[in-house]
């Protein structure tokens, strides 16, 4: 007992004395592999960590688990860790889900730092509150990479898609298709996401920017679909019952439900935008001729793979942008091809976009779905 206490005190002392502030240094660009790790904006700074030898220990700390997107993200992470391009660089790989409790997520990150992991990829449960683990990570030279729900800080390297740009592209496409039909004004239905979430806010901002800039006289009816198929289907059906026919639909999620509502209410097929659900893409391929001329852009669960790749690139001493903008995976109704960017044999709620050729991330849908539950 006494021995253990003594050992603990010595270890504790060593811990507290030996560490000086380390972490990344701010350097000048350009960064490595800019076609994959694109700077978010021209004034995004660049970071560089000390180069070290692989293979590396890598952990993914997920928060909430329980929707299709998150489950697919976890499967993607596991599939990508086995990818030949990256397998040899990883010596140990772990995935944990912490639920929505911030203390547990912070604890998990701190634990992996203690265990001597080199990099930790995470979806933060809150945009704030990570100062302590960032400080610890810098002390121990660990690279933390938040993605999807990013943090309000410029001290760590983060990965995301540009949600504002996504909103702009949604609206531009719908207006473009309406233009081809000769319409420069009319009634649009906007289907929004989870209220209070920054992703919903940014996408909607982008949509409205484009509508305002177009100068057309657009009457926009906004409904809240929570990015959920069931909710979206209900609110769209309600909106059609109340407002009649729309000239176009600008949805940002729960798109399977939106299409289903259009079909159920015998609403004419109109230009629309939506996420990257497999079911939505199936519908686009099937009904394009009837007027469902849609665009599909999604927040990809494959972001986890890019984050893992970015973490390893940073560990190898490459110059990295502090905020990485992943190219938006876009597909329009005329670009869809079964087995390539949608799969008629996979479920509707599968998220189709998983491939990012500039990053060498090429995990196809079937290979993710092939990840069984016993091969961790």
């Amino acid at each position: 007992m006494i021995k253990r206490v003594l050992a603990m005190s010595v270890a504790g002392l060593a811990m507290s004395c030996a560490v000086a502030m380390a972490g990344p240094t701010v350097v000048n660009g350009p960064g490595a592999n800019p076609s994959c790790f694109a700077q978010w904006s021209p004034d995004t700074k660049f970071l560089q960590w000390e180069k070290r030898e692989g293979p590396f220990k890598l952990a993914v700390v997920n928060g909430f688990v329980g929707n299709g997107w998150r489950i697919q993200m976890v499967k993607t992470a596991k599939a990508f860790a086995e990818d030949p391009s990256i397998k040899d660089k990883i010596s140990e790989f772990k995935v944990v889900s912490t639920g929505t409790d911030a203390a547990v997520q912070l604890g998990a990150i701190e634990d992996f730092i203690n265990q001597g992991y080199d990099a930790i990829v995470t979806i933060a449960v809150a945009p704030d509150g990570f100062d302590r683990v960032i400080r610890l990570a810098d002390k121990n030279n660990v690279v933390i990479v938040p993605f999807d729900n990013v943090l309000d800080t410029d001290k760590v390297m983060q990965v995301n898609e540009n949600q504002l740009e996504m909103g702009r592209m949604y609206a531009s496409h719908v207006l473009g298709e309406l233009g081809k039909l000769g319409k420069t004004s009319g009634k649009l239905l906007e289907v929004r996401g989870l209220a209070g979430n920054s992703v919903d806010r940014d996408r909607s901002l982008g949509i409205h920017q484009v509508l305002d800039e177009s100068g057309g006289d657009w009457e926009v009816i906004s409904v809240v679909g929570n990015w959920d198929d069931g909710t979206a289907q209900k609110v769209v059906a309600d909106a059609i019952a109340v407002h009649g026919t729309f000239d176009g639909v600008v949805a940002q999620g729960g798109t399977n439900g939106v299409v289903q509502a259009l079909l159920d209410t015998d609403h004419p097929m109109v230009p629309m935008s939506g996420e990257s659900e497999n079911g939505y893409r199936k519908a686009l391929a099937k009904y394009a001729d009837e007027g469902l001329k849609g665009i599909s852009i999604g927040q990809s669960p494959g972001l986890v793979a890019i984050s893992m790749k970015a973490a390893i690139s940073a560990l190898e001493g490459n110059v990295m942008p502090q905020l990485i903008s992943v190219p938006l995976p876009v597909a329009t109704y005329d670009e869809l091809e079964d087995g390539l960017n949608y799969w008629s044999d996979l479920p509707d709620n599968f998220f189709t976009v998983n491939e990012f050729p500039p990053c060498g991330v090429n995990i196809s849908g079937p290979s993710i779905m092939a990840q069984t539950k016993d091969d961790s």
């Binding site: 253990r4 504790g12 811990m15 203390a103 701190e110 992996f112 001597g116 209070g196």
Partner: protein
């Protein structure tokens, strides 16, 4: 000597759930440290306790209403409210920081008192009353902090979430490298906070008449009433203390994350986990048996289960399932006594 032995045996047999939980905790914790690459180090102990502080306090908060024979569904919400209040107030000069902490703790305590008033004078079942007041607490929290954020003093956060060495070094109270300080400087501040507050408040409270009345009410409210015990006072005290402990959890969470977050699902998971921790720690949901120190152990045990997922390779999608099964087994162990009783009627007491 035989006298002492007899007393010990009586103490253990009267606290069988607590004893079992403590033994399981110690064994699992030792095993965890052997498996951990940096086991038995101060850093691991700091991380373990940091992650546990909030749930320990919320579990202790939950213990008091449970001892009365009720349930408090607002503990997670009151913790969240205190968390949001702290995220606004705990910054600035040292005086402002201390004042902010006081107001935070007072907010929770007042909310606990409100719960008590509704239960005692409103004559409403605790589970329903706190379901309603819990919503009020979350509403207030959302009003104070519609979006996550806040700037709790960074130095405070760093000092209170590390070992004593960093605490002393951050504030320069004395030379942190002093020889006499070295043997204890590794001790985690969060663990110290847990021990001081829980033992410092619970043990004295338990020995007062009010404290014993809480147990008496849980055992048999009518008998307690017939005996002339101060029932209303005990109930008010129990809910008020519950509010105070929940606020301690919220305050620490704010310091730890240097921000506040009115997260409804997080509040809900804290409430549910607090009930699990209370049961794991040997407190009976029927009331009258158990104690706050048991809940402390139960909460640590609950957290310890999740620690294993990080050192063992378990499929991430199976982790919630395994956690649930282990919990169910652990709680069922407490029900083993049903196999031993000679008379089934004893189970209903």
């Amino acid at each position: 000597m035989p006298e002492l032995k007899k007393n010990m045996r009586l103490l253990i047999s009267q606290n069988i759930g607590f004893t079992a939980a403590t033994i399981i905790l110690v064994v699992l914790w030792l095993l965890y440290n052997f498996l951990h690459p940096r086991g038995f180090s101060s850093a691991v102990l700091i991380q373990n306790t940091n992650e546990s502080v909030a749930i320990v306090f919320v579990a202790i908060a939950q213990t008091l209403p449970v001892l009365l024979g009720g349930l408090d569904l607002s503990v997670g919400a009151v913790m969240t409210l205190a968390n949001c209040v702290a995220s606004v107030l705990v910054s600035g000069t040292p005086f402002q920081i201390i004042l902010g902490m006081m107001i935070t703790l007072l907010t929770g305590t007042a909310f606990g008192l409100l719960n008590g008033l509704v239960v005692v004078y409103g004559r409403i079942q605790p589970i329903i009353a706190t379901l309603a007041t819990g919503s009020i607490a979350i509403g207030l929290a959302l009003f104070i902090r519609p979006q996550p954020g806040g700037d709790v003093d960074g130095d405070l956060g760093w000092a209170l979430t590390n070992d004593l060495y960093e605490l002393v070094a951050t504030y320069g109270w004395w030379d942190a490298d002093a020889g006499w300080f070295a043997p204890i400087s590794w001790f985690p501040v969060p663990l110290l906070i847990i021990l001081v507050i829980s033992f410092g408040i619970w043990i004295p409270f338990k020995r007062t008449i009010t404290g014993r009345t809480v147990y008496a009410i849980g055992s048999s409210e009518s008998a307690a009433f017939m005996s002339g015990l101060p029932i209303d006072r005990a109930k008010l005290a129990a809910f008020t203390l519950a509010g105070f402990f929940a606020a301690c959890g919220g305050l620490y969470l704010a310091i730890q994350t240097s921000s506040g977050n009115a997260d409804i699902s997080q509040a809900g998971s804290y409430t549910l986990n607090s009930i699990a921790a209370v049961v794991l720690g040997g407190t009976s949901l029927l009331g009258g048996i158990g104690g706050a120190i048991g809940s402390l152990v139960g909460a640590l045990l609950l957290r310890l289960l999740a620690f294993y997922f990080r050192i063992l390779s378990i499929d991430p999608l199976l982790q919630p399932l395994i956690e649930g099964v282990v919990l169910l087994v652990a709680v069922s162990l407490g029900a083993l006594r049903t196999l031993q009783t000679k008379n089934r009627l004893r189970l209903f007491r």
